[in-house]
Every structure is written in C-alpha cells, then in structure tokens.
Amino acid sequence: MEQVIKTVFPIVILFTGATIAFGAVMGIVAYTVLAERKVLGWLQGRIGPNRVGPWGVLQPFADLFKFIFKEDIAPDKSTKFVYYLAPIVAVTAALIPMVVYPFGPDITSVDWSFLPFGLGDGVKRLPLAIAQIDVAVLFVLGVTSVGVYGIALAGWSSNSKYSLMGGLRSSAQMISYELAMGASVLGVVMLAGSLNLTDIIHAQMNSPFRWFIIPQFIGFMVFLISAFAETNRVPFDLPEAETELVAGFHTEYSALKFALFFMAEYVNMFTVSVMCVTLFLGGWYVPGLSHIFPAGSIPYAAVSVGAFFLKIFAFLFFYIWVRGTLPRFRFDQLMNFGWKFLLPVAIANVVLTIVAIWLWNVL
C-alpha cells in the first residue's frame, strides 16, 4: 500500500500542476479576448462589450455558450475526417508547450517532512514548472511548428477556394518566419549556454546585464516581429485578410470548431509572450528581490510569479495595441520582409554574438 502511494504520488502532483497551469492559461486566454475587445474599443473611441455582467466581465462565458449552442455544420463536399481533425491539431499543438513554461522559481524553504507515509522525505525543492527539460526551447519551437498542420489541413479539407488560399498563405508565412524566429533565439542560447528555460533565467540573473534584451536587442526585435507573424496577428494577419479571403482558412468553420481555432490563436499568443519574457526579459526574475525576501521562500516565489504574469500581460496588451494601430502587409511584402530582411539580420546577430563572446573570453 505504502509503495503504491509512493509511486502514484509524484504522478498525482504532476497532474495537479498541469491542471492548475491549464486553468490559469485558459482563464488568461478567455480574458485576453475580452481585453482585446475592450482595448480595441477604447482605441477606436468606442465603449466595447459592457452588457454581460458588471463592466462586461462575463462576456467570455457568454461567447463560449454561444459557440457551444450553435449548429455544427460541415460543408457537403468537405473531407470530413480531416475537416474535424484540423481544429483538434491546432489547439493541441498550441496547448502542449505549456508543460515547459517556467512560472516561477523553485520553493526550497518549506519542510515537506510533515506529509504522511514519508512522502516528503528528501524532497528539497518544489519547482514552479511542470517539467524543466533539457531542450525546452527546441521543444516549444517544434511543437508550435506542428500547429501549421491545423491551418493547412483546415484550408484544404474545407473544399473552398478562400479556405485553400488562406491555408496556403498562412502555412507559407509560418514556415518562413519560423526560420527567423529560430535564428533570433540562438543568440540567447549561446549567451546562456543552455536550451533549458530555467537555466536561461538563471544565466540572466548571473549576467552583468540582468536581462538579455540589452546584449541581444537585435535578436529581441527579430523575435518580436516573427512572433507577430507566427501567431497570424496584425500586421501579418494575411490568412484572415477579410477583404480578399472572407475569413481565410476558417471560412467554413462554425460553432465549437471555430472556437477551437480562435482559442489556438490566443494560446499561441500567450506562448510567444512567455518565450519572449523568458528569453529576453528575465522571466520571473525581479532584480534585487532577494534582498527583501530570502531566495526560495514562499513570498519570494509569489512576487516572482506575479512579475512573470505582469510581463506577459504587458506583452498581450502590446499585441492588442499594435492591432489597433497598424495596417496590414501585402503578401509579397510579407515574404520579402521575412526572407530578405529578417532572416539575414537574425543570422548577422548570431555571427555578432559569436564574435562578442569570443572577444569577451579572449580579453
């Protein structure tokens, strides 16, 4: 019995952590949608949704119920299996990177020996991340790149010209900007000497610059621009250019299937915000906080987690702000910009970083 509990307990803890993280991410995503409508309203001199609940705070739930109760329609000539598979692929690929987000520092000050059956014996730290894997950066880039299938297959299986064009455009765009994004991350990886997100945050704590945005400003800008393109947001929302393509790849999708695509887009926004904050803005690290609270204590962790989410909210606000401000690119401009400007700049940044690190070590 005791042996069974000892085997099952870590798995239960992992599942609990995953559930909490999932709930937090989904809550943030739901309220990002509301915030987007509110902020866009203010930017355009409107009020925004304000009818459902006080100040419109129940609007996400109203939207969700509307999506659930709508009729589920599939076009007659669509390829049914792929048509239903596409939104599932999109949302799964968007949610999986959650397992490597570093939400906060390890809690090391708690003594876990009060737990029954000796479960807490020898447990020194409680990491505030579901998994701290060795290749986290590659993992996030790889899994999000699988999300392209959701869009490409949705465009193809709908059997509609607008959908197909939208799907092709968007997969071409995502493949092109993935390269620039991967190359822009390399500088940070070289400075930190690791692909593990927690190690990258620790490297930023120990570096003289505190945040990698200072030595890696070019990389940060390239990452930010390609993040906008990767998530198909304004000014790179060509797949949804409504004047040309109706609604792009999800033209033929309705009800909950459309809601899944919608959700995948906002979860992807959250993912690139997490990556940007973790790689360039120090993640959960608040400079000087260890002088107020001892590192590893519960208040230290709480403030760090708060700082992490605050930085992410700032990014999400930036996304909405840009959407309210900038016009859309033309498709050829987008491709030229990605291949002929962003990628060379990212590679030049890599070379510069190599030279700088070499000089630093020699001198």
Binding site: V82, L85, I133, D134, V135, L138, F139, L141, G142, V143, S145, V146, V148, Y149, A152, L153, G155, W156, L164, G167, L168, S171, A172, I175, E178, S194, L195
Partner: protein
C-alpha cells in the same frame, strides 16, 4: 513505466506506417507519416534522447512534411490513378522490404549476442554532450554534411529556375536595369 509507453508509441508508429502505405490519397499518407514521426519522437524521449526527439519534431514533422503537404495540396493529385504502369515497383519494394527485415533480425541477433555490461549513460542524450561530440570528435563528418547540404540548396535553386547561362545573364541585366530605373524615380 517506460516499457508500456514504448509499446504504446511503437504500436502507434506501426499503425501510422501501415495507414501510410494503405491509403491511396497522398494527403492521408502524408498525415500518417507525420504520425509516424511524432510517435518516433516519443520513443526517443523514452530512450533518454530528448535532443533527437525535439529535432525530429522540429525538422521532419514541422518543416519537411509541411512542404510535402504543400506540394500535394497544390498539385491536387487524382485519387484513383491506376498503378498499371508502375507494376515493377512492387518487385523493387519487395526487395527493399526483405533487406530491411533481414537487417532488423540481424540487429536483434547482434544485440542478443552482446553481453549487457555497461549501464547506459543518461548524460549522453543531452544537448551539451551531443554538441561536444559533433564539434570535436566528429567535426569532419559534420563539415562534409554541411557542404553537401549547401550544394543541394544551390542545386535546387538552379533547377527550379530552369535557366541557361545566357538567360541568367539576361535576368541579371533586367534586374540591374529595373534597379537603375527605381533609383532615378526618387
């Protein structure tokens, strides 16, 4: 813990591989191949090789297969194309299949004959050790592969343009002229 996961993902990859061969529609085959790649990545993780797994997903599932899917979607191949002209491929396929099967059995045989002495090093699948091995011990093969890939890229660019040397020079002259015009406009 690892053994049931191995059988789960091994079974999944075999099922996807069978569906890859079975389907006549190339798009379904492509999707099945993506399934094979992802199941293989999961097996690599259970074998303590996370770097290989991540690269497998990133390169094969995330990049190469997307391009294959692209081509299939753009060409829009006929589903029921008869295979009558390609009968000899069955023979070629049989030869390859038997060879691969023989190889697999040979590996099983070799592994069962080798005494299992050393405990596998859990560090060896990590990024740091792979990088060290690639850029010190196996530097020459890595460089050779890099040059070959560069040649392939240049070759594919040349082939996709279908131009002779004189045509390339004409295109160049035209581009120069347009750039010259643009400069004079402003």
């Amino acid at each position: 813990m690892v053994t049931p996961l191995f059988f789960l993902f091994a079974g999944l990859s075999i099922a996807c591989a069978i569906s890859l061969v079975y389907h006549k529609n190339p798009l379904y085959s492509a999707i099945s191949l993506v399934g094979v790649f992802i199941s293989l990545a999961c097996i690599y993780i259970t074998l303590a090789a996370p770097f290989i797994a991540a690269v497998q997903v990133l390169v094969y599932a995330g990049a190469i297969m997307v391009l294959v899917l692209f081509v299939i979607m753009l060409l829009n191949l006929d589903e029921d194309k008869p295979l009558t002209q390609l009968r000899y491929l069955y023979a070629v396929g049989a030869v390859f299949g038997v060879t691969l099967l023989a190889q697999t059995f040979f590996i099983f045989y070799a592994v069962s004959k080798t005494p299992n002495t050393s405990i596998p090093n859990t560090e060896s699948g990590l990024t740091m050790s792979i990088g060290k091995a690639m850029y010190t011990e196996y530097l020459l093969p890595v460089e050779i592969v890099g040059i070959m890939l560069l040649m392939a890229i240049v070759g594919s660019v040349i082939m996709s343009r279908h131009l002779s040397q004189t045509q390339i020079e004409l295109v160049k002259a035209k581009e120069d002229f347009e750039a010259f015009q643009e400069r004079n406009d402003y």
